[in-house]
């Protein structure tokens, strides 16, 4: 397949996200820029200007009318997707590392950094889906992991029942956010989590970690369902929604951390693992730096990866991807 290279960023990518139909791809980077692209041909639709610091995270609502971003300038901003106008800015005490709309698009969770005496929090803010309406300043609830390790990633479960948080020490916690109560904790990873992505129905999720593994868990029971062990610290993991049962993981050690290098350029790879059989099935190389973020197109026909090298590579699968049958 011939990937489309999107060169809209000058610094490393932090997150990419497809909208629900998959025709738009949002990309955010440490260079303070938020871009939105048409995913079928890589044409850039526009950019959202306003953040004063690295943009760590982005999400878009299910109607593709509003997008929300979190940044190192201690703010989260709400944008009108079509016009590029900033509708609302929420101020926090520290940087916002992860942001996600809930299933009803009327709330968003923000994972804030722990710094300068301020503990890391997961703050739920409410969003008014009406583009013209004023947005509330007051958070609905602020969850603090009392003295425990800070959360680095988080996500909503189905029906917005719970919030799942991934922490810097490798643990995962489940919260009843309405009551601000921790329900469950497990420690499946030995190093920090780097990404959490849910299945389409949010009944299970995959986590990637610096301990070189990715695991799948049940949302409610937090049972570990699958495990994928690789040889490189992983920065992102994603589940293919249709046609094939794969998970795509990616990561990589930065050049300065590697002591034995092979001289090949473009050697950072997205790895395809069979979700059920826990076997590696293939790799797609191309990035010149560690892969920071992976997103699968909602129709299952392609995927994208964003790297430390500042490129977003948008891939569309060839026909033999769909014909692949594992011989087991």
């Amino acid at each position: 397949m011939r990937p489309i290279l999107l060169q809209g960023h000058t610094r490393s990518l932090t997150q990419i996200k497809y909208n629900r139909e998959g025709d738009l791809l949002f990309s955010v980077s440490k260079d303070k820029i938020v871009n939105v692209w048409y995913s079928h041909n890589g044409e850039r639709l526009g950019s959202y200007a306003g953040h004063q610091g690295a943009v760590w995270t982005v999400d878009v609502n299910s109607t593709s009318t509003m997008a929300i971003t979190g940044s190192a300038d201690n703010t989260a901003k709400l944008w009108n997707v079509q016009t590029g106008k900033c509708l609302k800015t929420w101020e926090f005490k520290t940087a916002v590392k992860r942001i996600e709309f809930n299933e009803d698009d009327d709330m968003a969770l923000c994972v804030t950094e722990e710094r300068m005496g301020f503990p890391g929090t997961v703050t739920v803010i409410s969003i008014n889906p009406d583009l013209e309406a004023a947005q509330s300043d007051e958070p609905v609830v602020t969850i603090v992991n009392d003295g425990g390790p800070k959360a680095v990633v988080a996500g909503w479960t189905y029906l917005n029942k719970f919030i799942i948080c991934g922490h810097v020490d490798g643990s995962i916690t489940q919260w009843d956010w309405k009551a601000n109560e921790k329900l469950n904790t497990i420690k499946p990873h030995s190093e920090s989590l780097t990404d959490i992505q849910f299945s389409t129905d949010r009944s299970y999720f995959i986590t990637s970690s610096k301990d070189k593994s990715a695991k799948i868990f049940d949302t409610i029971t937090l049972d570990e369902l699958k495990k994928y062990e690789t040889d490189t610290p992983l920065n992102s993991a994603s589940i293919t929604p249709k046609f094939q049962e794969f998970v795509i993981v990616g990561g990589g050690q930065d050049a300065m951390n590697v002591t034995t290098t092979s001289a090949r350029a473009g050697k950072f790879e997205c790895r395809f693992w069979h979700k059920i059989l826990e076997e590696e099935c293939g790799r797609v190389r191309g990035h010149f730096g560690p892969i920071n973020t992976i997103a699968v197109h909602p129709d299952g026909k392609g995927f994208s990866s964003g790297g430390e090298d500042g490129y977003v590579r948008v891939h569309t699968f060839d026909s033999d991807y769909f014909k692949f049958k594992s011989d087991h």
């Binding site: 397949m1 011939r2 990937p3 489309i4 290279l5 999107l6 060169q7 809209g8 139909e21 025709d23 738009l24 820029i33 871009n35 692209w37 048409y38 079928h40 041909n41 890589g42 044409e43 850039r44 639709l45 526009g46 950019s47 959202y48 200007a49 109607t63 593709s64 079509q82 016009t83 590029g84 092979s262 395809f272 069979h274 059989l277 076997e279 590696e280 099935c281 293939g282 790799r283 797609v284 190389r285 191309g286 590579r313 891939h315 699968f317 060839d318 033999d320 991807y321 692949f324 594992s326 011989d327 087991h328």
Partner: protein, 293 residues
């Protein structure tokens, strides 16, 4: 005037040159397969004219999309893209090279190209191990040129020592390193020349001294004597480490003298006594110990 009209109808050389230039025009046409072909002429980096042919196959893909998706396609561009015309901008969007995704159930078990190269190396080494390869520098089981300590200074003396040892014992390799293998043998310690094993304070390495004490100067050689002749003549007295035949720089013809170095001083003495006064190619040879100046 008639002369003028004649001149004007005759094509001048200037016009001919111009016609050639016209031949290098960009052509766009559609060939029999329906491919659009663009033929351009341009100068490449070496200043030479190159013909660039591009064949473009255009495929029309009709996709049925969600109404909302179609609506979004019509949105005006904003932000950095404001005012840009529809279609991807080449400064932000390019097509990468073709990357195949080879899916297989046993992906992890198939060796990659790198792994295969490594495997070959391992196999080669294993095959060679049986042939008793030894490095002259560190006596390891690898070729001298592949030695990890190849570029440290100390080993040069050890090479000489082992070479001498080789000659002395007449075997293919000494069984153990020279007993005077010396202080700090190994890759990590630098030893100053005057502190190295066997070195004299004056700075003359023992190897050269030994060499000169066993070196003979042969004079009154005829013009057509070669190094090989010298070698054949003197080898019966012992192992020859060096033969130098003085030649004239321009003509290459022998200047009439040569130097022969033996491994042992005793060999040189025997040779000197035997060859001195010997008739060779209708000349009487003179052999004496070389005096290095």
């Amino acid at each position: 005037m008639p002369a003028d009209t004649l001149a004007s109808t005759k094509p001048s050389w200037a016009d001919e040159v111009e016609e050639e230039e016209d031949a290098f025009q960009t052509q766009v046409y559609t060939d029999e397969n329906g491919l659009k072909v663009i033929v351009e002429y341009r100068d490449n980096d070496d200043g030479k004219k190159v013909k660039v042919t591009r064949k473009i196959r255009t495929k029309l893909v009709t996709e049925y999309v969600n109404k909302a998706v179609a609506e979004r396609k019509k949105w005006a561009k904003f932000g950095e893209e404001k005012g840009n015309k529809p279609g991807p901008d080449l400064s932000t969007t390019t097509i990468g090279e073709n990357i195949p995704l080879k899916l297989s159930s046993s992906y992890a078990k198939t060796p990659t190209a790198e792994q295969q190269v490594d495997e070959q190396e391992v196999k080669m080494r294993a095959a060679l191990k049986s042939k008793n390869i030894m490095c002259r520098i560190c006596k390891g089981e690898h070729f001298t040129s592949k030695c990890p300590y190849k570029d440290t200074l100390q080993p040069l003396d050890e090479i000489a020592a082992s070479l001498e040892g080789v000659k002395n014992e007449g075997s293919s390799r000494p069984e153990s390193p020279e007993p005077s293998g010396g202080s700090g043998m190994g890759p990590n310690k630098y030893i100053a020349p005057h502190l190295r094993k066997g070195a004299t304070a004056v700075g003359e390495s023992p190897r050269e001294k030994r060499d000169d004490s066993a070196t003979l100067r042969v004079t009154n050689l005829s013009e057509d004597v070669t190094e090989n002749d010298i070698y054949e003549l003197f080898r019966r007295f012992g192992q020859i480490s060096r033969v130098y035949l003085a030649r004239d720089r321009e003509t290459g013809v022998c200047k009439g003298f040569a130097f022969v170095s033996f491994g042992m001083k005793e060999e040189a003495e025997r040779a000197q006594q035997a060859v001195n006064g010997l008739g060779y190619d209708s000349l009487i040879l003179r052999v004496e110990f070389a005096r290095s100046s």
